[in-house]
């Protein structure tokens, strides 16, 4: 079933990349405006709070710095997610080394994510945020990519580094858990 894309009339990412490579800076602005918020949402879902702007900016800088390496097999957005994910992982690893901590896997990400709740005034929105915050990092990541960004399981598998089947299982487990948090 071919997906319906309401942005079909807008220039494709590939066209904008080509225009930017020919020196059209406006094309770069369009690409940033098109994808920055999505990358920001994804980065926030990974538990990043204060440095969302920095991570998103770094992801774009790295992507544009090696744009020749972008083969177009996946979408530019998926590629940006992958780069942002790597940046967050690198930052956490460096922090762990600096602090001499043991493994910082699930716990810290959840704590950072919970801190976002303080900024959310709307009650129903806050409850939803809490429910998503209770998911495991992997479940939350998959859930955000599927629900908030509308990625396919194939694209999610590329970003997260797993299989399509595993991405589907994570999504349905996350959805069930969010339902339980909200309605039980």
């Amino acid at each position: 079933m071919p997906p319906h894309d309401p942005r079909a009339t807008e220039p494709l990412d590939k066209e904008l990349i080509a225009r930017w490579q020919r020196g059209d800076e406006r094309a770069a602005s369009l690409l940033v405006e098109r994808h920055a918020d999505a990358v920001g949402r994804y980065v926030a879902s990974l538990g990043v709070r204060d440095q969302v702007q920095d991570v998103v900016q770094d992801a774009f800088v790295r992507a544009f710095g090696s744009i020749e390496g972008f083969r177009g097999d996946s979408s530019l957005r998926t590629w940006l997610f992958t780069i942002a994910r790597r940046l967050v992982a690198d930052t956490r690893r460096a922090e762990r080394r600096r602090r001499g901590d043991a493994d910082l896997a699930e716990g810290d990400a959840s704590t950072e994510y919970d801190a976002l709740d303080q900024l959310i005034a709307d009650e129903s929105r806050q409850r939803m945020h809490e429910a998503i915050g209770r998911l495991s990092p992997t479940q939350r990541e998959v859930f955000v990519l599927r629900v908030s960004e509308g990625l396919s399981y194939k694209e999610i598998a590329e970003v997260v580094g797993t299989t399509e089947g595993a991405a589907r299982v994570h999504y349905h487990n996350a959805l069930r858990q969010v339902k339980e948090s909200l309605y039980v």
Binding site: R22, A28, I132
Partner: protein
Amino acid sequence: MSDCANVEMRELLPELVHDRLDATARARVAAHLTTCSDCRAELELLQAARAALQPIMPLDTRAIVAALPRPKSRPTVRPLATRQVWRIAAAITVIALGGLSVNAVRQMGGPEMVLVDSARSTDTAGAQPGAVVAIADTPAAASRNGGMTAGFGVMDLADEDLEALIGELDKLEAAPRVDPDANRFGRMVAGTTGGD
């Protein structure tokens, strides 16, 4: 809130949220939603989750654009083009100066200067007694010897010769040669023949 048994419909709900279904699929899902309260509730949950995940603080996209690197192809093209123009200008200047020098010598009424092909430079019998014989590479000789010519108009040069001249000028700019005899395109020997 329970899960609908129709897994296919449930899989289409996130696509519906993002308006990525074609008309047929959208109609099918809409028909299903009229009869399935579980899917309606799930669709509402997905829409609420999407709304909750909107960014709290807007990103500064201008700062992101300003931080982007410049396209790699641009800086390599322009200076090359500029250098090419300078090379051609330098080549034309050298050629024009050569032509003017020959004219000046002729107008001074000095001994007649005869240009001969360097490949036949030993044959100066055709020159008048007392004439200055300049042995220069004509285009034909240059192409035989792989060398360059001097003292001819730019129209006399073939494309390959012009390219080669530009190449030689580049080399001169980069590392001037110490040995004047090795300067192939400036090869010119002038002398007075005995006329024998």
